[in-house]
C-alpha cells in the first residue's frame, strides 16, 4: 500500500488523530499523527492484516525549535512496503507513549532519544540514559544545550 492509501485507511479508523499525509517529490512520504494516539495507531499498524508493519527500522527524535519531533520508520516484511510516521510534542512537556511493547527494538531507540533529546516515553519499562553517564545533566542534542565547563573535575 502507498502512504496515501494507508493514511486514508487510518483516517477511517482513528479519525482526527491522524493529521495529514505529506507527499513530496524526492522525499519519503510521511504521515503525521497526534502524540497521544501514537500507541493505538502503531498497534493497528502492526496488527492489521493489510498493513502488517512488523519491523521498526528506526526510531529517532529531532529538535524542531519549540517542539520535539519523533520519527518512526516502519517496514512490512509481509507486504514489502514502508511507512514513515511523525509526531510532535512541545518541549516543555515532551511526553510520547512508548511503542516498546509493540516493537521490542524500540527499547534502546527510545532510551537513546530520551538520553540525547529528552523525549520522555510514557510506558517504557526502563527509561534511563543509554550512552551518556547516568549523572549527566541536560540533553546534548537539543539546540539550546549549553556545554558544561567541567565534568567530574575534568575540563570539557
Amino acid at each position: 500500500m502507498t502512504a496515501q492509501e494507508i493514511f486514508e485507511k487510518l483516517r477511517t479508523e482513528a479519525g482526527d488523530a491522524v493529521i495529514e499525509c505529506v507527499v513530496q517529490p524526492s522525499y519519503d512520504p510521511f504521515i503525521r499523527i497526534a502524540p497521544q494516539a501514537v500507541f493505538d495507531i502503531c498497534h493497528s499498524l502492526r496488527d492489521d492484516e493489510l498493513l502488517a508493519f512488523d519491523y521498526l527500522m528506526s526510531l529517532s527524535a529531532t529538535d524542531l525549535g519549540d517542539d520535539l519531533g519523533v520519527v518512526y520508520h516502519l517496514y512490512s516484511t509481509k507486504w514489502k512496503h514502508k511507512l514513515v510516521v511523525k509526531t510532535q510534542v512541545p518541549k516543555d512537556n515532551p511526553v510520547v507513549p512508548s511503542v516498546e511493547r509493540i516493537w521490542r527494538s524500540a527499547d534502546w531507540h527510545e532510551r537513546e532519544a530520551f538520553d540525547l533529546l529528552g523525549v520522555r516515553f510514557d510506558g517504557h519499562h526502563n527509561l534511563i540514559r543509554i550512552l551518556l553517564p547516568y549523572d549527566w545533566e541536560g540533553h546534548p542534542l537539543r539546540k539550546d544545550y549549553r556545554t558544561p565547563e567541567t565534568y567530574h573535575g575534568m575540563k570539557v
Binding site: L132, P133, P140, P148, Y151, H152, M154, K155
Partner: protein
C-alpha cells in the same frame, strides 16, 4: 642492550661481566613489559594488526594482560569519553608501580576530531593520568606503534632505581 655488549669483551678468565645492578634490572624491566590494553576505538583495530604476525608486537617482550594488577603499562588506544575517563583513572590507580602509559592516536593525545566541539570527549588523556609516550596518528601505522614501544623501552632502561631521591635531586 648495554649489558649484552659487554659480553663480547669479557675480562680474562671469562664469564665475568662488570656492570651496574641497576643496568641489569633496567635491562630486564625494559625487555619484559606486560601491558593492559585499553582499546576504545579504531586505534585498537590498528593495534590488532600490530599484534598479528606481520609486525609481531610480542617480540618486544610484551604480553597482553587482562588485569591492571599484572600490567607494567597501559595502552590507551582510541577516543576517551568522559564516561570512560573515570574508568581509566580507576584502572590506572589499580596498576602496581612502576607503571607507564602509552597514549595512542590523536583522540587520546588531544581529543582528535572532537577537540573543539565534542561535549563528551576528554581533550587528551594527560588531563587525568601522566603519559610517558605519545604515538601520533589517526590511527597510527604499526610502525608508529613500534617506535613508541622502543621509546618506552629506552625510557625504562635509563631510569634510576637506587638512591633515587638523592640522584634525581642533583640532576
Amino acid at each position: 642492550m648495554g649489558l649484552l655488549n659487554k659480553l663480547d669483551d669479557p675480562y680474562e678468565g671469562g664469564g665475568i661481566v662488570l656492570g651496574k645492578v641497576e643496568e641489569l634490572l633496567n635491562w630486564g624491566r625494559s625487555k619484559s613489559d606486560w601491558y593492559l590494553h585499553f582499546g576504545l576505538a579504531c586505534c585498537a583495530i590498528e593495534f590488532m594488526a600490530m599484534n598479528a604476525s606481520h609486525f609481531d608486537f610480542m617480540r618486544f617482550g610484551t604480553i597482553p594482560r587482562t588485569s591492571p594488577r599484572q600490567a607494567d603499562f597501559i595502552m590507551i588506544t582510541g577516543t576517551v569519553t568522559f564516561k570512560m575517563a573515570d574508568r581509566i583513572k580507576i584502572l590506572y590507580e589499580q596498576m602496581a608501580e612502576p607503571k607507564y602509559v602509552i597514549s595512542v592516536g590523536s583522540c587520546s593525545n588531544s581529543g582528535g576530531p572532537y577537540w573543539e566541539h565534542g561535549y563528551h570527549v576528554l581533550k587528551g588523556i594527560d588531563q587525568i593520568i601522566p603519559v610517558d609516550v605519545y604515538i601520533p596518528g589517526c590511527p597510527p601505522r604499526p610502525e608508529a606503534f613500534e617506535e613508541g614501544m622502543i621509546l618506552l623501552q629506552k625510557k625504562i632502561s635509563r631510569q634510576a632505581i637506587f638512591n633515587k631521591r638523592k640522584r634525581l635531586g642533583t640532576e
